[in-house]
C-alpha cells in the first residue's frame, strides 16, 4: 500500500522492521507474507477487556474493516509535529521480523529489537502504539527455541507450523487490538483540560509531555516501556466527568450504528445525539479552547479504527466547531477526512455486494470537499506561527492536491465510479500504477504506456478529461515546494511525475522528473558531505524513495579510502536521466556500455544499421536537448558513475553533433575522455563501446609493387611448349570490342604472397570538429592468418583521413578483409565491417534511402511517436528483406611463397641502345635470384614501341590484304627483340646469377622497348597426398630499354626488265664509267640465254651522313650465286642491277590467297575486286615473295665494323615486272632457213642473223621454222597463228592461222615449218601466236622475228 493512497487517512500504518541478523531475502519473504493482509475484519479483532481501551474497539459482530498499510521506513523526524494532526502518517504499530538461527538466542533478538526501536524513535513519541516481534523459525532443527513464548513482545512462529498465514492474521488482529487500545489512551490524555490546552496551543500540537501528565495509577497497562501509560483514572474531576460521559455515550451510538450500518448514504439522524455531550462539555471547558480539534482527532482515530460512521459523526461536529474561529488547516483536514469516509463507505458497500446509487457524478461531492480543503490550505496563515509551520502547511497542501488528483485519476483509470476505482484509491498511491492500467497497457504499447486511443477512451468513459487531472495536479507544483523537506518534496514530485506519465503527458513527466533528480542530487551531495565530515551516517534506509543511494560511495577524507560502491541506486538515478532524455528525443544509450572483464561475444554487426546512421534524422528541440544532456552528464558526474558520464557525453555527441556548437563538442569529448580515464584508474571493468558511428569509408588493398605481383597461369601452359599461336600478333584476341567479363576479371581478386608484407589503405572519416583519436586500429580478417600490428590513429577534425596498415599473410589461401577493429581511447574495441558493395546491395540501399527520404517530410506520427527510434518500428513501407543477405567482403588471394629475381646488371649504358636500321646487336642481362627459393621457369617476352601501333592497325582491319601481310610479316619475322630460350639457362638456384642474351634488331620507328622476364618456381615439393595444383604463379621483372634507330639507306623504285638488247646496252653504257666495278658488272650481266633471264634493279639512297657499302646477293636455285656491291655515298643514290633468272611458279602456288600470318578471326575481305584482278594480285604477291627469297641485300659501314640487313619489303611489284620475271608457258622460237638454189638437196642453212635481225635474201625460198616448247606444268593442246607484216610482200604456202599443233607433253617441243618468199626489200615482222584450245583458252605464247631484206646489195 502506498503512503500516498487516496485513503491513506484510513490506513493504520505498521512498520516492518528487520531485527537481528536476518537476511534481506528472508526478510522480504516474511514481510510479503505479512503484507498480504491489507485489511482486517473488525469482527476478527479481539476485544480488550479493559474498558478504558475498549473505546475504539469494534463490537464482535462489526462488519467493517480495518485497513492496514505497511512501511519499511519510519517517518522522518522532521514531520514529528504532525503526529496528532495526521496520525495516519505515523507507524501505529511496529512488527519486528526476525529469523532464529542457532547462533541467536531469543533474548538477543529481543535486545536487538528494543535497541532498534530506541534508535528509530525519539525517547518520548506518541507513536507507535503497539509493537511485536515475529521470530520465524527457519529450519526444523532449532529445538532450543521452545522457550520463546515466555518472552514478552516476542512471538516465535515455528517452521513446522502448517498454516502460518492464519496464525499471522491472528497475530495482526491482536496487534490491531493493541493499537486501538492505544488510541483510547491517547484520546484520554487529550481529553484532559491540559491535553486540550496542548492540543490548541499551536497549529500542530504535540502530546503533553510526561512531566506534565499525572502519574499513572495502574502499572499493568503500559504497552511499551518507553511510553508511560496514559492515565486511565483521571485525577482531575471536572473533565473526568465529561470524559466519563463521553465514554459512556459513545458505545451507544456505536451500537446503534452497527444496527443501521446498512445505509451508507447520509448519516441518519440518530447520530446527532452524539453532539449533545459536546455542547455540554464545551461549557465545561470554557471559551479558551474549543473541542474542534479534539473531535477531529477522534474522527481520525475512528476512521483508522474502521468505524466510518463514528468518524463522520465526529468530523461533522468538528467542522461545525472549527468554522467559527477559522482554524483553516484543521478544518481542511476534517474535510479530507470526510472525503475519505465517503470513499471507504462506498468501498464497503461494493464489498458487501450492494449496488451503487446511479448518480451522474457521484464523486462530485467528494471532489468539492477536497477542492474546499485545498482552498483552505492555501489560505492558511503560515506566518502566524512563524516560518516553522510553512513546511507542514505546504506538505499538507500538496497532499491534499495529490489526494484530489488521486481521486480523479483513480476514477479515470478505473473506468468510472466503481470497485476498480475504490480499490485503487484504497490501495494504490500515485507513485505506483494501478494494475488495471498496466494490464491493459501490455497489449497497447511496448513501454508500458497506454496509447493515445486508450487514454482517450478512458476519458470518454469517465467524463474526466486528462487535462482536468493535469490541471488539478498542476496546483501542487509551485514555489511552495521549496518549503518542503527534501524527502517530502521528492515524494510529491515523484507522485506528480508518475501521474503525468500515466496520463500520457510525457514531456511534463520528464520536466518533473528533472526536478526529482535535482532533489535527489541535493541529497546525495549533502549525504556525501556528512559522510566526509565523519558522521558516517548509514543513509539509504531513511529515504522513502526507491533506488536512491545516499552518497555511500563518496571518498572519505584526503586519504584514498574507498568504500565498496553500491551502484544499485546509481543505476536507478541514471535510468531516470535516460528516460528524461529519451522523452526529449536524445537517446543516451546509442553508445553501449560494455563490460570489459567479460569476453566480448563476437556478435555480427548490423551493417545496414550502421550505414543508416548517415541519414540520421534529427528530432526535437535542440536548445532543450543540449540543456538536458548537460544536466544528465552533471548528474552522472555527481554520482559519480564515470562510465555513464562517458556514455552520455559520447551518445549525445553522436546524436546531436550537427546542432552542437564547437565548444560543446570539445567539452563533451574531453569530459568523456577524462571520465574513461578515471573509470579505468578506479578499476571499473565497464567501458563504453566504440561510439563514433561507422568510421571506415573505404578499404583498399594497395597493389604490390610490379616486380612482386604474382600472376596466375594454368599448369597446362607448361606442357604446350611451342604453340602455333603467335602471341605477338594477337594484340586483341578477343572478338568483342567490349567484354564485360574481361573487366570483371581484371577487377577480381588481389594477389598477395605468403610471407611478404602488403599494405592496405583505410579511409576514415571524422564528422566532428575535434581531432578524433583512435587508440588502436587494426584489420579484421578471416581466412588466412596474418601478422599485423594495431596502430594508433588521429583523424583530423571534419575530414577524411587515409591510413596505411601493413600486414603479412602467414599461409597461402584466401584472405577476407572484413573491415577494421577500432578502439577509442579508454573504450572497447569494436569491429566495423565493410562489405563490398555489390550492385544488388547498392540498389537495395538506394531504395531504402529513397523510402526514407520520402517519409522524412511526412508527419503522419506526431509528437513523441515521431522520435527516430519509435518511428523505425512503425515505418509503413518496410523494405522487404526476404532475400538472404550474402555479404561479400574484400577478398585477396594469398599464393605460396614465391622466389624473387632482380636484374643485377645489363650490358647497356643508361638502358639505351643505338642502332642503324636493320642492324642487330645483343643485350646481356645478368639476373640474380635474391630469394631462398630456386627458380625453374624463365620466360622472356618483349615489347617495343612498334608493336602497339601495328597491332592496332591490324585490329582495326582497315588495311588491304597486302598491307596486312606486310605488317604481320614485320611483326613476326622482324621483331625488335628476340631471345633463344634453348640456349639460355632456365634454372636459377637461390643466390645464383645468370646471364641472358637478347638480340636486338634495329627497326625504323622503334623508340623504346621493354624486356619482361617472367619466372617462377613451378616444380615444388608436394605432399604426396595433396592434389597437384593446376595453376602456378609467375612473377615478372621488367626492364625498359631506350632504342634509337637511325634510318640511313632507302630502297626506291625497284624494277625488273627483260633482257631486251637495247636495255642491256643501256645498262652497260651506264656502268661503263669506272673500270673494275664496271667490268665486274658487265661480267655479271652476261648471261647465257637472254630469254631465260631478266634484270632486277633498285635505287639505293643514302640519307645518312656516312657512306655505306651495299651488297645485293643473288641466291637462286640452279643458278650460281652472284653478288654486286656498290658504295653509296652520303646523300646520293645508286642503282643496283642484278640479273635474275626467270622462273615460274606453279599454278597451285599462285592461286593461293594471300595468307594471314596470325590466326585472327573474322578477317573479312574488304576488296571488291573481280576474280581476274584478284588472281593478278595473288600472282604479284607470290612472285614478289619468291623474288625476295632470291635477292638478299645487306649493308656495311664503310670503314667500320657495323653491318646489317637492308629490307626490300617496301617495294611493290607491278604487272609489267611480273611479266618480265615470269617464264612464259610456251616458248616460241622462230628462225629462218634458206635453201640454196644451186644445191637444193642440201640441208637448209640458217639465215644470217645479226643483231637480232634476220637478213634473208629476197626472192628466195626460205623456211620459216617456228618451234614451240611447252614450258607449262601441264600438257598443252594448241594452235598456232602466224602473222606477217607487211603481208602483201610475202608469198607463203599453207594456212596462216589455226595451224594445229601436236599435243605437247610437259617439256616437249614441236616445230612448224612454212616456206615463204619475200618479194620485196624492207623490214618484215613475222609473229607467231600460240593459242590454247583447252580451257582456259587464250594465248599462251608469242614469238617474233624481224627480217631485214635488202634487194640491191
Amino acid at each position: 500500500m502506498d503512503p500516498l493512497a487516496f485513503a491513506s487517512l484510513a490506513h493504520a500504518r505498521i512498520l516492518l522492521l528487520p531485527v537481528g541478523s536476518i537476511k534481506r531475502q528472508s526478510f522480504e519473504k516474511w514481510a510479503a507474507e505479512i503484507k498480504s493482509f491489507d485489511t482486517v475484519r473488525l469482527g476478527d479483532i479481539p476485544a480488550d477487556t479493559n474498558e478504558e481501551k475498549a473505546r475504539f474497539m469494534p463490537s464482535p459482530l462489526a462488519a467493517g474493516h480495518l485497513h492496514l498499510s505497511y512501511a519499511t521506513h519510519p517517518l522522518p523526524d522532521s514531520l514529528a509535529p504532525l503526529s496528532l494532526f495526521r496520525p495516519s502518517d505515523f507507524p501505529l504499530g511496529v512488527i519486528g521480523v526476525a529469523t532464529c538461527t542457532q547462533n541467536d538466542s531469543l533474548g538477543s533478538i529481543l535486545g536487538h529489537f528494543n535497541a532498534a526501536m530506541n534508535d528509530l524513535f525519539p525517547a518520548d513519541p506518541t507513536f507507535p502504539l503497539a509493537r511485536n516481534c515475529f521470530v520465524f523459525e527457519e529450519s526444523d532443527d532449532n529445538t532450543n527455541m521452545n522457550l520463546g513464548n515466555t518472552l514478552p513482545g516476542l512471538i516465535v512462529i515455528p517452521s513446522m507450523m502448517g498454516n502460518k498465514k492464519i496464525y499471522i492474521g491472528t497475530l495482526l488482529a491482536e496487534l490491531c487490538s493493541n493499537i486501538l487500545g492505544g488510541f483510547a489512551t491517547v484520546v484520554q490524555a487529550l481529553e484532559s483540560p491540559l491535553g486540550n490546552e496542548y492540543l490548541n496551543a499551536a497549529m500542530f500540537p504535540t502530546m503533553p509531555s510526561l512531566s506534565d501528565m499525572p502519574k499513572p495509577i495502574d502499572p499493568d497497562t503500559p504497552l511499551r516501556s518507553s511510553l508511560p501509560p496514559l492515565p486511565s483514572y483521571n485525577s482531575q474531576p471536572d473533565l473526568a466527568a465529561t470524559g466519563a460521559t463521553l465514554r459512556a455515550k459513545t458505545p451507544t451510538p456505536l451500537s446503534l450504528k452497527r444496527v443501521s450500518s446498512a445505509g451508507p448514504g447520509a448519516p441518519p439522524s440518530p447520530y446527532r445525539h452524539s453532539s449533545l455531550p459536546v455542547k455540554k462539555r464545551q461549557i465545561a471547558i470554557g471559551a479558551a479552547s474549543t473541542h474542534g480539534r479534539l473531535f477531529k482527532v477522534l474522527g481520525d482515530f475512528f476512521l483508522l479504527a474502521g468505524r466510518t460512521m463514528d468518524a463522520s459523526v465526529w468530523y461533522t461536529e468538528a467542522i461545525a466547531m472549527l468554522k467559527n474561529p477559522q482554524d483553516t488547516v484543521w478544518h481542511a483536514a476534517v474535510l479530507e477526512g470526510l472525503a475519505t469516509v465517503q470513499v471507504i463507505d462506498a468501498w464497503s458497500a461494493t464489498q458487501a455486494g450492494n449496488a451503487l446509487p446511479d448518480e451522474k457524478d457521484p464523486w462530485a461531492d467528494i471532489a468539492d470537499k477536497l477542492i474546499q480543503a485545498i482552498a483552505l490550505y492555501t489560505k492558511a496563515p503560515s506566518v502566524a506561527d512563524g516560518d516553522t509551520n510553512s513546511p507542514f502547511i505546504s506538505y499538507l497542501y500538496c497532499r491534499a492536491v495529490l489526494r484530489h488528483t488521486s481521486l480523479l485519476y483513480s476514477i479515470w483509470s478505473g473506468k468510472g465510479w466503481g470497485p476498480l476505482a475504490f480499490a485503487s484509491m484504497l490501495e494504490y498511491g500515485l507513485s505506483s500504477l494501478p494494475p488495471a492500467l498496466t494490464q491493459e497497457s501490455s497489449s497497447s504499447t511496448s513501454d508500458g504506456r497506454l496509447s493515445f486511443a486508450a487514454l482517450e477512451r478512458l476519458t470518454s468513459i469517465t467524463g474526466i478529461s486528462r487535462a482536468t487531472i493535469a490541471a488539478t495536479l498542476t496546483q501542487a507544483h509551485g514555489p511552495w515546494l521549496l518549503h518542503l523537506g527534501t524527502r517530502e518534496r521528492i515524494l510529491v514530485l515523484e507522485a506528480m511525475a508518475s501521474v503525468y506519465g500515466a496520463l500520457g503527458y510525457r514531456r511534463k513527466e520528464a520536466y518533473i522528473l528533472r526536478e526529482v533528480l535535482g532533489c535527489i542530487m541535493d541529497l546525495i551531495v549533502c549525504g556525501r558531505e556528512e559522510a566526509q565530515a565523519g558522521a558516517g551516517r548509514a543513509g539509504g534506509t531513511g529515504l522513502g524513495i526507491q533506488g536512491v543511494n545516499l552518497g555511500r560511495d563518496a571518498n572519505r577524507g584526503a586519504v584514498g579510502v574507498r568504500e565498496n560502491d553500491n551502484t544499485e541506486g546509481n543505476q536507478s538515478v541514471l535510468r531516470i536521466v535516460k528516460y528524461v532524455c529519451l522523452v526529449h528525443g536524445v537517446d543516451l544509450e546509442t553508445v553501449k556500455i560494455v563490460d570489459t572483464s567479460r569476453p566480448v561475444s563476437g556478435g555480427e554487426l548490423d551493417t545496414s544499421a550502421a550505414s543508416e546512421d548517415a541519414s540520421y534524422e534529427l528530432f526535437g528541440w535542440p536548445e532543450l536537448q543540449i540543456g538536458i544532456v548537460r544536466e544528465a552528464i552533471a548528474v552522472a558526474e555527481a554520482l559519480p558513475d564515470y562510465p555513464a558520464v562517458a556514455q552520455f557525453s559520447l551518445s549525445s555527441l553522436k546524436s546531436l553533433h550537427p546542432v552542437m556548437s564547437q565548444g560543446d563538442q570539445h567539452h563533451l569529448y574531453n569530459t568523456a575522455a577524462r571520465a574513461l580515464a578515471t573509470a579505468r584508474r578506479r578499476g571499473d571493468t565497464r567501458s563504453v563501446a566504440y561510439w563514433s558511428g561507422q568510421p571506415i569509408i573505404s578499404l583498399e588493398v594497395q597493389p604490390l609493387p610490379l616486380v612482386r605481383i604474382p600472376m596466375e597461369k594454368p599448369m597446362s601452359m607448361l606442357t604446350q611448349r611451342r604453340s602455333d599461336h603467335v602471341p605477338i600478333l594477337t594484340g586483341m584476341t578477343d572478338p568483342f570490342l567490349y567484354n564485360p567479363r574481361k573487366l570483371a576479371a581484371a577487377q577480381g581478386q588481389v594477389m598477395l604472397v605468403e610471407n611478404e608484407m602488403f599494405e592496405i589503405i583505410v579511409t576514415l572519416r571524422n564528422p566532428y570538429v575535434f581531432d578524433l583519436e583512435l587508440s588502436s586500429m587494426s584489420l579484421s580478417t578471416t581466412g588466412v592468418k596474418i601478422e599485423s600490428k594495431p596502430i594508433p590513429v588521429i583523424i583530423p577534425a571534419n575530414s577524411f583521413h587515409p591510413v596505411t596498415v601493413t600486414a603479412k599473410p602467414l599461409e597461402p589461401g584466401t584472405l577476407v578483409l572484413r573491415g577494421c577493429v577500432a578502439q577509442a581511447p579508454g573504450g572497447v574495441a569494436q569491429e566495423f565491417v565493410l562489405p563490398l558493395s555489390t550492385d544488388e546491395e547498392e540498389q537495395k540501399q538506394l531504395r531504402r534511402r529513397s523510402t526514407r527520404e520520402c517519409e522524412v517530410g511526412r508527419s503522419k506520427y506526431s509528437g513523441l511517436e515521431s522520435r527516430p527510434w519509435s518511428k523505425e518500428t512503425k515505418r509503413g513501407s518496410q523494405v522487404v528483406q526476404a532475400t538472404p543477405k550474402t555479404v561479400k567482403y574484400l577478398q585477396c588471394k594469398v599464393v605460396p611463397e614465391q622466389p624473387l629475381l632482380r636484374i643485377r646488371r645489363t650490358s647497356l649504358t643508361h638502358g639505351a641502345v643505338m642502332l642503324y636500321n636493320g642492324e642487330t646487336t645483343t643485350i646481356r642481362v645478368t639476373l640474380e635470384n635474391v630469394s631462398a627459393l630456386p627458380i625453374d621457369f624463365l620466360r622472356l617476352t618483349f615489347d617495343d614501341s612498334t608493336i602497339a601501333p601495328a597491332q592496332q592497325a591490324l585490329a582495326e582491319g582497315e588495311l588491304p590484304v597486302f598491307d596486312t601481310y606486310e605488317t604481320e610479316y614485320s611483326l613476326l619475322h622482324n621483331p625488335v627483340f628476340t631471345w633463344d630460350s634453348k640456349r639460355n639457362p632456365q634454372e636459377i638456384q637461390p643466390g645464383e646469377k645468370i646471364v641472358v642474351t637478347i638480340n636486338c634488331f634495329g627497326k625504323v620507328g622503334c623508340s623504346s622497348g621493354a624486356l619482361h622476364i617472367s619466372y617462377s618456381y613451378v616444380h615444388r615439393r608436394q605432399n604426396t597426398l595433396s592434389e597437384p595444383q593446376d595453376v602456378f604463379h609467375t612473377r615478372q621483372l621488367s626492364y625498359p630499354v631506350l632504342v634509337t634507330v637511325y634510318h640511313m639507306l632507302e630502297c626506291h623504285s625497284m624494277d625488273i626488265l627483260s633482257y631486251a638488247p637495247d636495255t642491256v646496252a643501256e645498262l652497260i653504257a651506264q656502268a661503263a664509267d669506272n673500270d673494275t666495278a664496271g667490268e665486274a658488272r658487265r661480267a655479271l650481266l652476261n648471261v647465257a640465254d637472254v630469254a631465260e633471264w631478266c634484270i632486277f634493279s633498285v635505287d639505293v639512297r643514302n640519307t645518312y651522313g656516312l657512306p655505306f657499302e651495299v651488297t645485293f646477293e643473288r641466291d637462286q636455285p640452279d643458278v650460281e650465286k652472284a653478288s654486286t656491291t656498290l658504295l653509296v655515298p652520303p646523300g646520293s643514290m645508286s642503282r643496283v642491277v642484278l640479273p635474275i633468272k626467270k622462273f615460274r611458279l606453279s599454278e597451285e602456288q599462285v592461286s593461293q590467297p594471300i595468307p594471314t600470318l596470325s590466326d585472327r578471326q573474322f578477317v573479312v575481305t574488304k576488296s571488291n575486286l573481280s576474280s581476274a584482278e584478284e588472281q593478278l594480285q595473288r600472282e604479284l604477291f607470290w612472285y614478289r615473295e619468291e623474288l625476295f627469297k632470291y635477292v638478299r641485300c645487306s649493308w656495311k659501314e664503310t670503314g667500320g665494323s657495323r653491318s646489317g640487313h637492308l629490307s626490300l619489303r617496301k617495294q611493290r611489284m607491278t604487272h609489267h615486272m611480273l611479266k618480265a620475271l615470269r617464264t612464259d608457258e610456251t616458248r616460241v622460237d622462230m628462225s629462218m632457213y634458206e635453201v640454196h638454189e644451186d644445191e637444193p638437196d642440201a640441208d637448209p642453212t640458217l639465215v644470217e642473223c645479226r643483231g637480232g635481225r634476220w637478213l634473208p635474201k629476197p626472192n628466195t625460198f626460205i623456211y620459216l621454222r617456228t618451234r614451240i616448247t611447252n614450258l607449262s606444268p601441264t600438257t598443252l593442246i594448241s594452235t598456232l597463228d602466224l602473222t606477217f607484216e607487211p603481208a602483201q610482200h610475202i608469198i607463203f604456202e599453207g594456212v596462216m592461222s589455226g595451224i594445229p599443233l601436236a599435243k605437247l607433253e610437259i617439256g616437249d617441243s614441236y616445230e612448224v615449218e612454212m616456206p615463204v618468199t619475200i618479194v620485196s626489200s624492207g623490214r618484215f615482222e613475222l609473229a607467231a601466236q600460240v593459242r590454247r584450245l583447252a580451257q582456259p583458252a587464250g594465248v599462251v605464247g608469242r614469238g617474233q622475228l624481224t627480217a631485214v631484206v635488202e634487194m640491191f646489195t
Binding site: F452, L455, A467, G620, P622, E623, G627, S862, G863
Partner: protein, 163 residues
C-alpha cells in the same frame, strides 16, 4: 477595448515538434529556457487536444487554454499543424477567447508571410528538400523579419495596456 493582456512568450513549433521560433517578452530576460520548457511541455496537452479534436472531426484551430501554471498557456494550431503557443501572464482580468484567437491569427499570418519567402529555400540543403526543413529554417537567426513581425504583434498587444 479588450482587457489588458501581457504576452510573456510566443512559441512556434513545427508539425514535427521542432521549435521554429521562441520569443520571450517577459521583463527579466534570464528565464528564456523556462519558456522553452513551457512550450515543450504544453505539447503534451496539445497532443491530447488534437486527438480529441480528431475524434469529433473538429476543424477548429484554436485549442484553448492549455494549462495554467505561473503563466496561462494557450494553444493554436494552423491547418498545417504548426503549433503556436502563447504564454500570457496571469492576471485577475478575464481573458476572452476571442482576444487570444485574434493574437493567434495575427501570429499565424506573420508566420505564413515569412514562410512564403522564396529565399528560404536558397539555403536549404538541396539533396533533401522537404518542406519541413524549410519551415524550420524560417525561424533561424538569419531571417529577422519573422522575429520583427512577432515582436510587432507583441507590442500591439501590450501597448494598449501601457497607454
Amino acid at each position: 477595448m479588450p482587457p489588458q493582456l501581457r504576452l510573456n512568450a510566443v512559441a512556434f513549433v513545427s508539425s514535427q515538434n521542432h521549435p521554429i521560433l521562441i520569443r520571450t517578452f517577459s521583463q527579466p530576460k534570464q528565464d528564456e529556457l523556462k519558456y522553452h520548457y513551457i512550450a515543450h511541455t504544453s505539447l503534451d496537452v496539445i497532443d491530447e487536444r488534437i486527438t480529441a479534436a480528431g475524434a469529433t472531426k473538429s476543424t477548429e484551430c484554436y485549442l484553448g487554454l492549455l494549462y495554467v501554471e505561473d503563466v496561462a498557456v494557450y494553444g493554436y494550431m494552423t491547418p498545417l499543424k504548426v503549433k503556436i503557443i502563447i504564454a500570457l501572464e496571469l492576471s485577475d482580468n478575464v481573458v476572452r477567447d476571442i482576444d487570444v484567437i485574434t493574437i493567434s491569427q495575427a501570429l499565424h499570418t506573420a508566420y505564413r508571410r515569412s514562410v512564403a519567402n522564396p529565399f528560404l529555400r536558397l539555403h536549404a540543403p538541396s539533396d533533401n528538400v522537404t518542406d519541413h526543413a524549410v519551415v524550420v529554417s524560417a525561424g533561424s537567426q538569419k531571417w529577422k523579419l519573422f522575429r520583427e513581425r512577432v515582436d510587432e504583434i507583441c507590442r500591439a498587444v501590450t501597448l494598449p495596456a501601457a497607454a
